[in-house]
Symmetry: C2
């Protein structure tokens, strides 16, 4: 496992690539291992699990095209150590492909997922949800995250609004957070890295309630608007990421988010449902 | 199959209940049949397929709690006639349950899905996405849909903005549609009916481009904010439904939508990715 602070790009695997490394172990089956670098409160950061599942399809010999959607259901915490990913092409059409995925440990289902891949083509295009105006990343200060949040050390974050509450009990009437974010050390954006970035927001209920409490993503969906060319154009530049909740109640809240890249390109829209206790 | 125009509630099955009827045919396995009443351009209306998959979990003997999320991937058109639904509880925790679902015909996967169920409990609550102000349903005119859209005859729609374009080529700068909608004939809202309503919007690209073109939902996700008590309070009243797209391009567009009920309760938020050609 690479150490982010000493990674030099040329000689060692980037910690992100190390974390999502999968070894084929049979038809549609891969083995991986949790990375201490992406540790969260209970098990790994949800974004790295999403990226790992997508990676299984990315390296599958039967893959068609690029991801257009991914849904990941977090059924239970991933224990430290080895895990198995199964990636089954449930149906392959002329220009689309549907994947059924599972992450298991000791034959227990830990995560389920589905993905849709497609061969993309030129069509009429328009973006309605335009990138909001904020200072450029070079004019925004780096935001430190609490030291015990291990996974966050892999991201360079520059919060623009909706910072993690520091004064206990200071409630907010709005759950919006906007930040510039990229991998740390910097890394060219690809589909797994974009998938991981989609889960970068701390739980919206912390912001509304002005305090931390038990909370965790139970299901995450990503729509990839970027194709391979858009990712290449993005390179290792920061992405503008914005999230907001629609409703909190009865133990769950939802969250909708957008990630924009270079020239205001909307790279992904992503939604999740989060369990909370409090 | 009931005829909507003559349904009298007391003696016959409501056409919605007829369409989602499933017969157990083995462990985790059910058989159903497409309903001519919910026919769309190619195969059935996507909402009725989503409702049918949810219904498999609803009537499964191992079900825990109520649905909190559902993702349906439309892998291919459902052919007229019989189909098989498999509903597997992939993991059951103390208060959550994860389901893996498939709809097959002649052993070919037609639809894949996942659902999360949960035992809901009282917590802090807040709604950020409040119901927009519009005339009450009784003050809004019924909107006829084109006669060839068979499935739409099962819904009483009162469009408030973003009507289906009637003047060919009249483009719109915004993809928002808002309408009052309920089952026709009226029917008490339950989870399958709410799931079906989440797909009630005609493709956003028609509105933007001012014309119909080949288009179809490829994946749909629903977050259920309503619990059983909220559905009971809703009864058979119309729901205010609003949808908008974030980005169109490279053959796909996304859509995010909200459905509000009585007293402005946000019953569900729902997202989809739609294929289009044009």
């Amino acid at each position: 496992m690479g150490d982010p602070s000493t990674w030099d790009g040329a000689d060692a695997l980037h910690p992100f690539d190390d974390a999502i490394t999968l070894t084929p172990s049979g038809d549609n089956t891969y083995t991986g291992e949790t990375s201490p670098a992406y540790q969260n409160m209970v098990g790994p950061y949800g974004g790295i699990t999403a990226a790992t599942l997508l990676q299984a399809v990315q390296q599958h010999p039967e893959r068609l095209g690029v991801p257009v959607s991914l849904t990941v259901n977090y059924a239970g915490p991933v224990a430290d150590g080895k895990f198995t990913v199964t990636a089954r092409p449930a149906r392959t059409n002329r220009s689309t492909q549907h994947w059924s995925l599972e992450l298991t440990q000791d034959d227990t289902v830990v995560t389920t997922a589905t993905a849709v891949y497609a061969v993309r083509r030129e069509t009429w295009a328009a973006t309605e949800t335009v990138m909001p105006e904020f200072p450029a990343p070079e004019d925004a200060a780096l935001t430190p995250m609490p030291d015990f949040v291990q996974w966050a050390k892999n991201y360079e974050m520059r919060f623009l609004e909706g910072l993690l509450p520091t004064v206990e009990g200071a409630e907010s009437p709005d759950s919006t957070t906007t930040l510039w974010v990229r991998d740390s050390p910097a890394r060219e954006l690809d589909f797994p890295a974009l998938a991981s970035l989609c889960d970068v927001f701390y739980p919206r209920v912390f912001l509304r309630r002005g305090q931390a409490m038990p909370a965790g993503t139970i299901t995450l969906t990503i729509y990839f608007h970027a194709d391979a060319a858009a990712l290449e154009a993005q390179g290792d530049r920061p992405v503008l990421a914005r999230a907001r909740s629609n409703r909190f109640g009865h133990g769950y809240f939802d969250q909708s988010a957008q990630l924009w890249g270079r020239d205001g390109a909307l790279l992904a829209t992503t939604h999740q449902l989060v369990y909370f206790k409090g």
